[in-house]
């Protein structure tokens, strides 16, 4: 098992903390083994909680190809100029050094559920007693006519943060005066329900300052979307006349693109565009399908512990799972990870398992100091994870409240990222 040197050296304080964490050096072959695939809000949180709470009694391996992980949440704020790319980048040094997690930067390419092993692209095999998959999303082939991953340079999705976000931001900056930014929004269910609309807000915020005669077209296959009245109120207040949202009723589902010609065709009408942000239909990250725990596009799970319906020793967290009422969000994945960590640790070490409780809150930024939120609590029933109670920001709220909501979202970002990465 390699302990990644770069990640290890990346955190000075973490290196010092390692002195107090003998688990880093422990061989651990006689301990129960958990392999976690995917180091985002679900996987990093699950790995950290199992390692932290079991105090070295469980051998935890985290497989994540990225050495620097850019969170999808707040990547729209990077597009809007409210955050730098560095602000949303995180490394795994503390998870390795302080919590004794074996962080492996590689791709998982196969899962053998009979032999209970994971095969990495580098050829290594990792045996597991419990396997946690938190692979996020991949895109459904052919979901948007004319678009494929091969065209993502001409028409970025920017729905996995990092280089795609940088590309989209650069394209927006290079738009000609009075040019057109187009978005093809995804059908339900998809990662971060308010995400496309927060993104539209952030793009409008940039264009209002740099390119005020520019236009934004959104082709949407849905009749309505998350926080719709809040976004539409904000768009009218901040960006009047700039954003044209074309929903299902006006042919928003009947869309094709031509990445070579840079055109978007909505319901038979072709438009030349300068930037085209195509966010295709989504499915569970590919490794979930390879592991054979998906049914259709997603992996059905039991709400009580996040184990899959297909295999009680394989768990799926976050965007990739199909659980019921929770939205696909980083907050949800983090919440599910804690329930899963508690159950996995209990199964492996006999520690007390407490009943599942879930929650979610999604903050969105519409303009400067104009933040809104929606949230709910959830419980596990026999059929699914079911909503218990919820709330949403109201239209017409005061500027002070909206500013406080935005500041709260920044506090949440600091909180959840320290909860994920230590």
């Amino acid at each position: 098992m390699k302990l990644n040197r770069r990640a290890f050296l990346g955190t000075g304080a973490a290196a010092a903390a390692a002195i107090h964490a003998p688990a880093v050096l422990a061989d651990g072959h006689d301990k129960p083994r958990v392999v976690v695939i995917g180091g985002g809000a679900g996987g990093a949180t699950a790995a950290r909680y199992i390692a932290k709470d079991s105090k070295g009694a469980v051998n935890v391996t985290l497989v994540e190809p990225s050495r620097v992980y850019f969170t999808c949440f707040f990547s729209n704020l990077y597009l809007g100029g409210f955050k730098e790319l560095d602000d949303i980048g995180h490394t795994y040094g503390t998870l390795a050094a302080k919590y004794g997690i074996n962080v492996v930067h590689d791709w998982a390419v196969d899962v053998d559920r009979d032999a209970k092993t994971v095969t990495l692209a580098g050829g290594a095999q990792l045996p597991y007693d419990k396997l946690i998959l938190s692979p996020g999303i991949d895109f459904v082939d052919g979901a948007v006519e004319g678009w494929s991953v091969a065209a993502q340079n001409a028409m970025p999705h920017a729905y996995k943060a990092g280089s795609q976000s940088e590309l989209l931001k650069a394209q927006i900056a290079a738009m000609p005066q009075g040019g057109t930014f187009a978005m093809v929004a995804p059908p339900n269910p998809f990662r971060c329900p308010p995400g496309p609309y927060e993104r539209v807000s952030m793009v409008a915020h940039v264009l209002k300052n740099t390119n005020p005669t520019a236009k934004i077209i959104v082709a949407d296959p849905k009749p309505k979307f998350s926080k719709m009245s809040l976004f539409q109120e904000g768009w009218a207040n901040h960006y009047e006349g700039m954003i044209d949202w074309i929903g299902e009723d006006f042919g928003g589902a009947n869309v094709s693109v031509d990445p070579d010609a840079m055109t978007l065709t909505i319901d038979g009408e072709e438009t030349a565009v300068d930037v085209c942000n195509v966010i295709p239909a989504m499915k569970a990250g590919r490794i979930a399908e390879i592991a054979g725990v998906t049914d259709g596009n997603w992996a059905p799970v039991n709400g009580a512990d996040m184990s899959t319906k297909a295999d009680g020793d394989v768990y799926v967290l976050g965007d990739a799972c199909q659980q019921g009422d929770m939205p696909k969000s980083g907050y949800s994945a983090n919440s599910q990870a804690k329930v899963c960590a508690n159950a996995v640790r209990g199964a492996l070490t006999g520690s007390k398992v407490f009943p599942a409780k879930f929650s979610n809150t999604c903050w969105s930024l519409i303009g400067t100091d104009d933040g809104v939120k929606v949230g709910a609590t959830y419980e596990a029933t026999d059929e699914k994870i079911a909503k218990v109670d919820g709330f949403i920001s109201q239209t017409g709220e005061s500027g002070d409240l909206r500013k406080a909501t935005f500041e709260e979202s920044e506090g949440w970002y600091a909180g959840i990222t320290s909860d994920m990465f230590g």
């Binding site: 929650s359 109670d389 600091a414």
Partner: protein, 233 residues
């Protein structure tokens, strides 16, 4: 000569304005403003440490120097670096706490109005200039007004259960107590924690996320969380 007297006059003017900035504080008005502080701080005769340290004798004290109170690492560092509470440093801290002490646990957004700050500081000063006067000061400003059933307050929480439940809190509230847009809940006295959570549960405190979170916690679960967070390091 004429130039010199003009210069002198200017110096005098600026001194006068400096002097008035310190003298303008109205301690009576400041006492009312202290309502913003007393959720966490007590002051006056018999004041005790609560969520924050009591504020008797704060003037002239080194930051993080009040014995028996667990300060944030950030505040301890500021103290070690030589931060002393004076009119000027207190004014800057109250204006925007995180500007002076970046990861302070003091969850206060700040007081923008310079006159209000001067009034508040004038009030604090009446409990500081001469600590021996404190017993004769105005009655203690107590932190908590509540009508929580004593049976609920007396519940003994299970910190292990609290640790599990706390994972839900720590999505937003940082375990090290940093308050960046979301308040610190680390190292709160159990009673304050229980009172605050029940106030959310009963929707007396106005915050939709917290009302929702607290709304489904039982009395025992709130006690368990309080028992866990009181010692979290």
């Amino acid at each position: 000569m004429r130039t010199a007297s003009l210069a002198l006059a200017m110096i005098w003017c600026s001194l006068a304005s400096l002097g008035s900035a310190e003298a303008v504080g109205d301690a009576e008005a400041g006492k009312k403003l202290f309502a913003k502080c007393k959720g966490c701080h007590e002051i006056g005769a018999g004041a005790k440490d609560r969520i924050g340290p009591h504020l008797n004798g704060v003037y002239g004290r080194n930051a993080a120097a009040h014995e028996g109170f667990s300060y944030s690492k950030s505040m301890q560092r500021a103290g070690a670096d030589g931060l002393v509470w004076t009119e000027r440093t207190l004014d800057a801290y109250i204006e925007k706490p995180r500007t002076l002490v970046s990861k302070t646990r003091m969850s206060f957004r700040g007081m923008k109005d310079a006159t209000e700050r001067a009034n508040l500081l004038a009030y604090l000063r009446t409990h500081s200039d001469n600590p021996s006067d404190v017993p004769e000061a105005e009655p203690t400003a107590h932190a908590t007004d509540h009508d929580i059933d004593p049976v609920i307050l007396a519940l003994k929480g299970d910190p292990d259960y609290g640790e599990y439940l706390s994972s839900e809190c720590l999505t937003c509230h940082q375990s090290d107590g940093s308050a960046e847009g979301i308040p610190s809940i680390t190292l709160w006295p159990e009673e304050d924690f229980v009172i605050a959570m029940h106030a959310y549960k009963r929707k007396l405190r106005p915050h939709p996320v917290m009302q929702m979170m607290a709304g489904r916690l039982s009395d025992e679960e709130i006690a368990a969380l309080a028992a866990y967070f009181k010692d979290l390091q």
